[in-house]
């Protein structure tokens, strides 16, 4: 026998196939016939009609009563005592009222019966044996009986559909088609951003097989199976009936064509499951909300427990806040999916430990767990030793403020004493490491935290505390505090769990900002927050990002009231605002821009086609998300003589890819020639902040230019080895800094002479490169580092023609700045060539050109301005001999 099986098997006794669940055979059997369906539906209509008529009659009765009193208003005012005599009520209107009272009773009966019928799963009848875990009363269960009215109606619709299409069997696709008519499932696909009409259109093409049957259809095996699975799911969630939401998932998983159709509409397993979960969680939350408030009313209001054995705790009350009280009033956030952590906490207390320490990175939800614990304590759904107790948070700042160390110590002692005597307090201390390092001074120095440790070791109180992973390893691990408490690790929730946490917050955000959230918004929130926000952990960073996105959507909705949807695009915009990273899908415009990257770069860069091509290809790969996610976007080593455009290309890439030159972080490696300068780059434990790590931590999306890398100390080069390989570095404070959104460009002048000479001889660039790697680079850098770069690019020395083009580009910039002053600028081709020639030096590339243009053009123009020989509307020109002249503009 399959205990909690997933394999369907045939049961002769019941003459049906089904699943074994806790010793009970679960199957589904439904008697569907068109005539029966019509009968049922007509009956429902007739009953509604009867109810309506009775309701009207009952209302009429109450109206008669009201009318009667209206008629007697004079008596009511003059002599109300008269109302006490029975004779007073002898009146036809009263008779009408009395007669119609039976209709009131009838309506009460009808609503009660309907209410009872809604309860399809009675968990008293379905209770399990505690020892064996098997059903106590059930050996076989026709789970089709648990379908609620809406689900049953959908099934009827599916049957009618199959019968209209003359199909032999009703299959999951028919059911799914019928499900699409319900409001809930329609809302579900709106959340998914699926065009319902398109879905219906695609689905309708696949509803009928080719063969049509003359007989009435029967329920197909896969349909019966999926009803069983839906019912079991509803049972496991302790629902009162199986609903259309329970049917949706098994429908999808039982029909491959349906899955294909949805896949085409960008819906996959995870998406569908998470959205169904979203709706179910919301239903559950609404149910729990009512139960919670019913339970919360019974929690004592104040410091005293139910049996009045507790003691007043004025000092504790002064230095703390009562979390159970906040939970009772419903002020605390909801806690989702933390069963594992709760059971670890309870296990620790059950094993006789008095102190529990929750450890996890910032934003992982430690505080939410504490608040969840407070809520469980309000509902009293905690082990006996925590029942009828208060969870009280110690306010450390308040405890320490305005007091010397010894006074603080005394305050804490009094608090702990009170807690011990009261016996109904669980103490919560947030960021417990703050208690460390406060000592009363003097020779017999005594730390504040020792007071607490001693109380925990004596088991004088229940204590729960939190600390970040970082602070735990830095301050607590290995100390007596660490040893006196049981640690419970709080891990980041999984992708789907974070989605579900966001789903639980969604309705609140939607109501507050008047925005409708799609599933893609939630999905993108988790994806992008994981990718780009590194400082804080999930789920906090995801929650914050979602909030920001909703605010952006709200802002745009104010300008365009028809657009109230927050989708993935708003999330990408939020990321862009927070980090400057263009995280949107590659748009058509941007696609074109990326495809024409070479041309764009060449607007600023002259020559160096090979280098530009290599860099452009790497950037396209990165933007299309085809790169390895655990490494930097791209890494290059630029080799070549000075002044050939290595830095210029880096700047251009920064502008083209990140949108601004300011995204470039430049490190002149000649400043890092000592081994000790590692600290300058990554910082150290004494609080020195690393230049590189800090810059990248703040702006993960950046271009890092390592100028003259060969001059750095080998220890520093080893750092880059790890950086290029894993895409991360650990800084002096122990934080992991991610470089996966960075472009790394290192430049070097090594082998400049070789390059120049080899080029002159016309040797192939590939050969030159190999020669440089084999014979020159290896003297300064280890081969593994050289191999880590995505590309080693050799920059060619500039030719005279290149210099002319560069001169033209530089003159364009001068023209632009003159234009701002209202002065025009023109240059003769021959004149430019003469200037270019003057600025050309094969050894220094384009660098001397800048000086020449400065001296012979910019300085001259400046002099003209100062001598007042140049006015608005004049034109400055460079003549054919490279001289500067002015043509006067027209006078106004």
């Amino acid at each position: 026998m399959n205990e909690e099986g997933t394999n369907f098997e045939y049961n002769k006794k019941i003459n049906s196939s089904g699943l074994w669940l806790r010793g009970c055979f679960v199957y589904s059997r439904l008697h569907l016939k068109r005539s029966l369906i019509t009968l049922d539906r007509t009956l429902i209509l007739v009953r509604r009609l009867v109810d309506f008529i009775f309701f009207s009659l009952a209302a009429l009765g109450w109206l008669a009563l009201a009318w009667y009193f209206y008629e007697q208003r004079a008596v009511l005012i003059d002599n109300p005592l008269k109302l006490a005599t029975p004779q007073y009520y002898q009146h036809p209107l009263i008779l009408v009222f009395l007669l119609t009272l039976f209709f009131d009773l009838f309506l009460y009966y009808r609503t009660s019966v309907a209410q009872a019928e809604r309860l399809k799963m009675d968990y008293y009848k379905l209770r399990l044996d505690e020892e064996t875990g098997q059903f106590k009363k059930k050996t076989s269960w026709n789970i089709a009986e648990t379908l609620d009215a809406e689900a049953k109606n959908v099934l009827d619709d599916a049957y009618i559909l199959a019968s209209k299409l003359k199909q032999e069997e009703v299959n999951p696709r028919h059911l799914f088609r019928a499900l699409l008519k319900t409001k809930k499932i329609q809302a579900l696909f709106i959340r998914l951003g699926v065009d319902a009409n398109l879905l219906v259109e695609k689905l309708d093409k696949h509803l009928a097989d080719d063969e049509s049957s003359a007989k009435a259809p029967v329920l197909g095996t896969s349909l019966k199976e999926l009803i069983v699975l839906a019912g079991i799911e509803a049972f496991k969630r302790k629902q009162i009936a199986t609903t259309v939401l329970d049917l949706a998932w098994p429908c999808y998983s039982h029909d491959s064509i349906l899955a294909e159709i949805l896949y085409d509409l960008e819906v996959d397993d995870d998406k569908l499951q998470n959205v169904i979960e979203w709706f179910k969680v919301n239903e559950e939350l609404a149910r729990n909300y009512n139960d919670y408030h019913k339970a919360a009313i019974l929690k004592p209001w104040g410091a005293m427990n139910r049996s009045y054995t507790a003691v007043a705790t004025p000092t504790v009350d002064h230095f703390s806040s009562d979390l159970t009280l906040s939970a009772r009033s419903g002020h605390l956030e909801l806690c989702m999916d933390r069963l594992k952590e709760f059971s670890a906490i309870f296990d620790a207390y059950s094993s006789g430990q008095a102190g529990v320490l929750l450890i996890g990175p910032t934003g992982v939800g430690k505080r939410t767990i504490i608040e969840g614990l407070a809520q469980l304590m309000v509902k009293e759904e905690v082990p006996k030793y925590l029942q009828d107790k208060r969870l009280v948070e110690l306010d450390l700042a308040n405890l320490i403020s305005g007091a010397s160390a010894s006074e603080a110590q005394e305050r804490l002692l009094v608090c702990l004493n009170e807690i011990n005597r009261a016996g109904n307090i669980v103490l919560y201390i947030s960021d417990i490491e703050k208690l460390m390092g406060i000592s009363s001074g003097g020779e017999e120095s005594f730390e504040l935290v020792e007071v607490l440790i001693e109380a925990i070791n004596r088991q004088a109180l229940f204590c729960i505390a939190t600390a970040t992973t970082e602070n735990y390893s830095k301050f607590i691990e290995g100390t007596s505090l660490g040893e006196s408490m049981t640690t419970v690790g709080v891990a980041e929730p999984s992708f789907n769990q974070i989605i579900q946490i966001l789903e639980s917050k969604a309705s609140n955000l939607e109501a507050r900002y008047g925005i409708y959230l799609t599933y893609s918004a939630l999905e993108k929130t988790v994806l992008l927050s994981n990718k780009y926000l590194r400082d804080v952990s999930s789920p906090l960073k995801a929650i914050n990002l979602l909030q920001k996105s909703v605010m952006i959507a709200n802002k745009s909705a104010r300008n365009n009231p028809d657009h109230v949807i927050c989708s993935g695009e708003e999330v990408a915009s939020a990321i862009e605002q927070l980090t400057g990273i263009p995280a949107n899908k590659v748009s058509e415009d941007e696609g074109k821009k990326l495809l024409n990257l070479e041309a764009n770069i060449h607007e600023r860069m002259v020559g160096q086609e090979e280098a530009v091509k290599a860099v452009s290809a790497a950037l396209r790969r990165a933007r299309a998300d085809l790169k390895d996610n655990a490494r930097p976007i791209a890494s290059f080593l630029f080799l070549g003589p000075t002044g050939v455009g290595k830095t210029e290309l880096a700047k251009t890439v920064s502008e083209v890819y990140f949108g601004d030159e300011a995204y470039m972080i430049r490190l002149d490696m000649s400043e890092y020639q000592e081994a000790s300068s590692v600290n300058k780059i990554i910082g150290d434990a004494n609080g020195v902040i690393g230049y590189l790590t800090e810059a990248v931590r703040k702006k993960p999306f950046s271009l890092i230019l390592l100028d003259e890398i060969e001059k750095a100390h080998p220890d520093i080069l080893n750092l880059f080895l790890q950086l290029l390989d894993d895409g991360r570095l650990t800084d002096g404070q122990g934080r992991t800094i991610s470089f996966t959104q960075s472009i790394i460009i290192a430049t070097s002048n090594i082998g400049s002479v070789t390059i120049q000479e080899s080029m002159k001889q016309g040797i192939d660039v590939a050969l030159i490169k190999q020669d440089l790697i084999d014979n020159q680079l290896n003297k300064y850098m280890r081969p593994e580092l050289i191999n880590r770069f995505d590309g080693i690019v050799v920059f060619k020395p500039l030719t005279e023609e290149n210099i002319v083009v560069i001169a033209t580009l530089m003159l364009k910039r001068i023209k632009k700045s003159l234009g701002e002053k209202g002065v025009d600028f023109q240059a003769d081709k021959d004149g430019v060539a003469i200037l270019a020639k003057a600025g050309y030096d094969p050894k220094f590339g384009a660098r001397p050109l800048r000086r020449v243009l400065q001296e012979r053009v910019e300085d001259e123009i400046a002099n003209l301005f100062l001598a007042n020989k140049l006015k608005r509307r004049d034109t400055v020109f460079i003549g054919s001999n490279g001289e500067i002249g002015v043509t006067a503009g027209r006078m106004l």
């Binding site: 005539s35 009956l43 009867v50 039976f102 009966y109 019974l298 139910r306 054995t309 507790a310």
Partner: protein
């Protein structure tokens, strides 16, 4: 089986008539059970909020952590007073519940009686 309009009509009529016939049966079976359960829940809720049993169980446990003899004595007497007071309150709650059930049971007859009085 042939299903024409007549058989449909007959079946629906039978079901609707059964709805009416079942009404008095329901009132004194499932309906009564519902009322008794409701009164039970009300009683239980009052019991928890009055903590009668908790007071009874802790009759010899000193209040406010006063473990000295005087504290114990005072506490015992206070608890006795509290238990008497809470006991009365519980009794009242019980009586209200029972009266409500009696009212439910006799309600149809009371209405009938009132109608009879009106007519004759």
């Amino acid at each position: 089986m042939e299903h024409n309009s007549f058989t449909y009509f007959a079946k629906i009529l039978a079901r609707v008539i059964w709805d009416f016939l079942y009404f008095p049966i329901w009132w004194y079976s499932a309906g009564l059970l519902k009322t008794v359960r409701g009164v039970g829940h009300f009683y239980h809720h009052q019991e928890v909020s009055l903590n009668f049993l908790v007071w009874l169980k802790n009759i010899f446990v000193p209040m406010y952590g006063q473990h000295d003899i005087a504290g114990r004595l005072i506490s015992f007497f206070i608890r006795v007073v509290q238990i008497i007071y809470r006991g009365f309150a519980m009794l009242l709650v019980l009586i209200i519940g029972l009266v409500f059930i009696a009212f439910y049971l006799t309600l149809p007859f009371m209405i009938l009686f009132a109608i009879w009085k009106q007519l004759f």
